[in-house]
């Protein structure tokens, strides 16, 4: 058989080129029509995914505040050597810029931005703005330096220059607990009391991992049991599994508070049963977050597992038993490996969803249980530091992409046939 087809190909190699062209021509219109069909989807994806994500990535480097507020100052600083005290014209330009910026309402964002370089610049600028030297003053530099000697230090001006670039690494550095030291200009680690995001990142990954493991641990037997049920009953139970999806996440989370709090149902019952004397702290800590997140994400591991398990014939375990394996070993070595695809699919789904969890830890956890998304929301809503929010969001995005890449490498099947 194979020999015949091989010779057939040999005969036609000389015609291959033209055949290929003819094939392309023949299928060209078909392909164009199918492209047209999926065009709405492509446009939707572009608008709803690619553009916002691109925007977020851009925002984590975008640095418009100082460029917009102090254009002449930055221009005047161009000729400066970076070591000595800048010329008088730089000070004059600064005062002029500050006056314009005040009228245009750019002062708060300017102060905020320069404050990121060094907290002292906030007070420095506030003071300067309160008593801006008049145009007629003899020496603008002297009157500013009279307010604060910081104006005399080259590092202040270097910081303005650094903050005055159109792109900044500040947010991305901060997302990894680093900053550019205002004095030396070197990248340094944030001091211990301020460093936060690396540990939050680690915590986010860890919590997502724990939740994933718990989901697999609890979801696996449930899916197995479901797969063993006759279809009609399994469908009913599947509806039960899906039931929580019909209520909002907020309601489910709030429901857990009611159950888990000190005066809640669980503590109440356990005290009534005499199991404990004092209520257990089950909520507003890690325990509550784990319980609730596991509950909420469990269906995402049960469903793919169920789908995979439903397709595995009971004969595999029987075969292993007939070959002499103890039922447990038969299950472990003949059944479980065949569910790996379901386990990894479910686990990856849960992990990626867990990594971005926000509401549940915010409501059920303490401050030590907040995940990265909480800080994204914090910077977006509370402090309106969208650069920081974008940098943390990008961090999360990149880590998810990295993990996915690792996952696809690790799980790439050894034999091509299994991929089918």
């Amino acid at each position: 058989m194979s020999e015949v087809s091989l010779t057939a190909i040999d005969h036609s190699t000389d015609k291959n080129a033209s055949l290929k062209q003819r094939l392309l021509r023949a299928e060209g219109s078909y392909r164009r029509r199918s492209m047209l069909l999926i065009a709405p989807l492509l446009i939707f994806l572009l608008i709803s995914f690619v553009l916002p994500i691109g925007n977020i990535l851009w925002k984590s480097f975008d640095n418009p505040e100082v460029v917009r507020a102090l254009p002449t100052t930055l221009l005047a600083l161009q000729g400066w050597d970076g070591e000595s005290r800048p010329d008088e014209k730089v000070f004059v330009a600064l005062v002029k810029d500050l006056k314009t910026a005040k009228d245009e309402g750019q002062i708060p964002s300017l102060i905020k931005r320069l404050g990121y370089e060094d907290g002292r610049y906030r007070t420095l600028l506030t003071m300067a703005l309160r008593k801006l030297p008049d145009d007629g003053v003899e020496s603008t530099s002297r009157s500013l330096i009279a307010q604060s000697t910081l104006w005399a230090e080259p590092s202040t001006w270097r910081s303005i220059q650094r903050a005055g670039r159109t792109l900044t690494a500040y947010y991305v550095l901060a997302a990894f607990d680093h900053q550019v030291d205002a004095q030396s200009g070197n990248i340094v680690e944030l001091p211990k009391g301020q460093a936060l995001y690396l540990s939050v990142l680690m915590r986010t990954l860890w919590m997502a991992l724990v939740v994933t493991l718990l989901c697999v641990l609890f979801g696996y037997p449930v899916a197995y049991w479901l797969a063993k049920q006759p279809s009609s009953r399994a469908n009913l139970w599947l509806i039960m599994v899906l039931l929580p999806f019909w209520t909002s996440l907020l309601v489910r989370t709030a429901g857990w508070i009611v159950l888990l709090q000190n005066g809640g149902l669980i503590n109440h019952s356990m005290i009534a049963l005499g199991l404990i004397d004092q209520p257990l702290q089950l909520v507003f800590n890690r325990v509550g977050v784990y319980i609730s997140m596991t509950h909420i994400l469990l269906p995402f591991v049960i469903l793919p597992l169920y789908a995979v398990m439903k397709g595995i014939s009971p004969n595999y375990v029987r075969a292993a038993v007939s070959l002499g394996a103890h039922p447990f070993r038969a299950f472990w070595s003949a059944y479980v490996p065949q569910t790996f695809a379901g386990v990894t699919a479910g686990a990856l789904l849960v992990f990626i969803m867990a990594i971005g969890y926000y509401i549940t830890p915010a409501l059920l956890g303490g401050p030590g249980d907040q995940m990265l998304s909480y800080f994204v929301a914090f910077y977006t809503n509370t402090t309106i530091n969208w650069g920081m929010a974008a940098a943390l969001g990008s961090q999360l995005l990149i880590i998810v992409l990295l993990l996915y890449w690792v996952y696809s490498r690790v799980t790439r099947p050894a034999n091509p046939a299994q991929r089918a």
């Binding site: 014939s313 038993v321 038969a330």
Partner: protein, 363 residues
């Protein structure tokens, strides 16, 4: 049967799944060592359940199964040492061919050297030594079947169960595999219990065939006996082609009887089942036992309805005694040129080729 104690014995075995219906009603069956026994029957007849009970995956609701004289329920399924080949093979998709074959040896904690040797020998036995490192999904159906066979044999069980193992193969491959299974059975001195619904396969392979219907063994016999001397209409119909003519028993004398057919003509037949005069019966005659144009004692006239020329023989469909689907298979050499549809020819058979069986319940 014989004085040698049976290797496997089913004693009064019953099985019900739902507590209402018996899938296996009453099973008494002895299997001799070295025998190739096929359980044959339509789906739902209880043959697979019987096999699964022997394998230990189902428990009899009543009765017991003895293996080599020991009650089987005292031995856990994985300790029975029974090789099994499954429908669709059940090769572990995540293991290579070698891994699949090594599995039963690994669970028996054999040394790596022994395992390698035995795996190689088993693969050579099915002539697939070169595929050791492939995964099942990369093999053809026939190759998978051989691997499944090799895996069931690699740990040298003396009893091998096969559950419709050839069902998924095309005809050519199936016939090839049948020969292979026969060869292995003889070569290794195995006892094989084979389940199939394909009667040709059963006849090809088996020393004895147990025909199942409705949870009961209808007949258990050698292929020849089953074919030539079916004990009831079900067996006669299930195995091979069969002409059934309804009639009434006129007289019985020993193993012979006279039967009056629907058109009033009387013919002689073997009385296979206990029948007495006056009872309704169904006369069973194999198509190849029928002669046309040869007048004899049992001679009727039949009108030719249709002729199908098949090269080695000709199939003639006739209307005989009011029965329109009466078929005769006539060797080409005996064919006459004037046999045309509409012609009437004498139809005859030897009395000992016809069996008077239980009357057919018409569907």
């Amino acid at each position: 049967m014989s004085s040698v104690p049976p290797y496997v014995r089913f004693r009064g075995v019953q099985k019900s799944y739902d507590g209402e219906q018996l899938v296996v009603k009453k099973l008494d069956l002895d299997i001799q060592r070295g025998e190739f026994l096929t359980l044959l029957g339509p789906s739902g007849s209880g043959k697979t359940t019987t096999l699964m009970m022997l394998a230990g995956f189902e428990t009899p609701t009543q009765g017991e199964i003895l293996l080599d004289g020991k009650p089987l329920h005292t031995v856990a399924p994985h300790q029975r040492g029974i090789g099994m080949v499954f429908q669709n093979y059940a090769l572990f998709p995540h293991m290579t061919v070698a891994g699949n074959l090594a599995f039963p040896l690994k669970v028996r904690r054999m040394s790596a050297v022994d395992i390698e040797l035995k795996v190689k020998r088993a693969l050579d036995m099915v002539q697939l030594g070169h595929l050791a490192q492939r995964y099942p999904a990369q093999l053809s159906g026939g190759q998978q079947q051989r691997i499944a066979l090799a895996r069931a044999l690699v740990f040298e069980p003396s009893l091998v169960l096969m559950d419709e193992p050839l069902g998924a193969l095309d005809k050519q491959l199936r016939e090839q595999m049948q020969l292979e299974i026969r060869r292995l059975h003889r070569q290794l001195g195995l006892t094989v219990v084979f389940v199939t619904h394909d009667q040709a396969e059963a006849l090809t392979l088996s020393d004895r065939v147990a025909v199942f219907n409705d949870g009961v063994i209808q007949q258990i016999d050698t292929p020849k006996a089953l074919y030539e001397h079916p004990c009831n209409s079900f067996v006669a119909h299930f195995i091979g082609e069969n002409n059934a003519l309804p009639g009434t028993v006129v007289s019985v004398s020993g193993a012979e009887c006279r039967v009056r057919l629907a058109d009033g003509s009387e013919v002689g037949a073997r009385a296979s089942t206990a029948l007495s005069a006056g009872e309704p019966t169904s006369l069973s005659i194999r198509p190849e036992r029928i002669a046309l144009n040869v007048p004899s004692a049992n001679s009727l006239s039949g009108r030719i309805e249709e002729l199908i020329y098949l090269g080695d023989h000709v199939r003639v469909r006739l209307n005989v005694a009011g029965h329109e689907a009466f078929t005769a298979k006539v060797p080409i050499a005996d064919m006459h040129d004037d046999w045309l549809a509409g012609h009437t020819v004498p139809v005859s058979w030897f009395s000992h080729d016809a069996s008077a069986l239980d009357p057919l319940v018409h569907h």
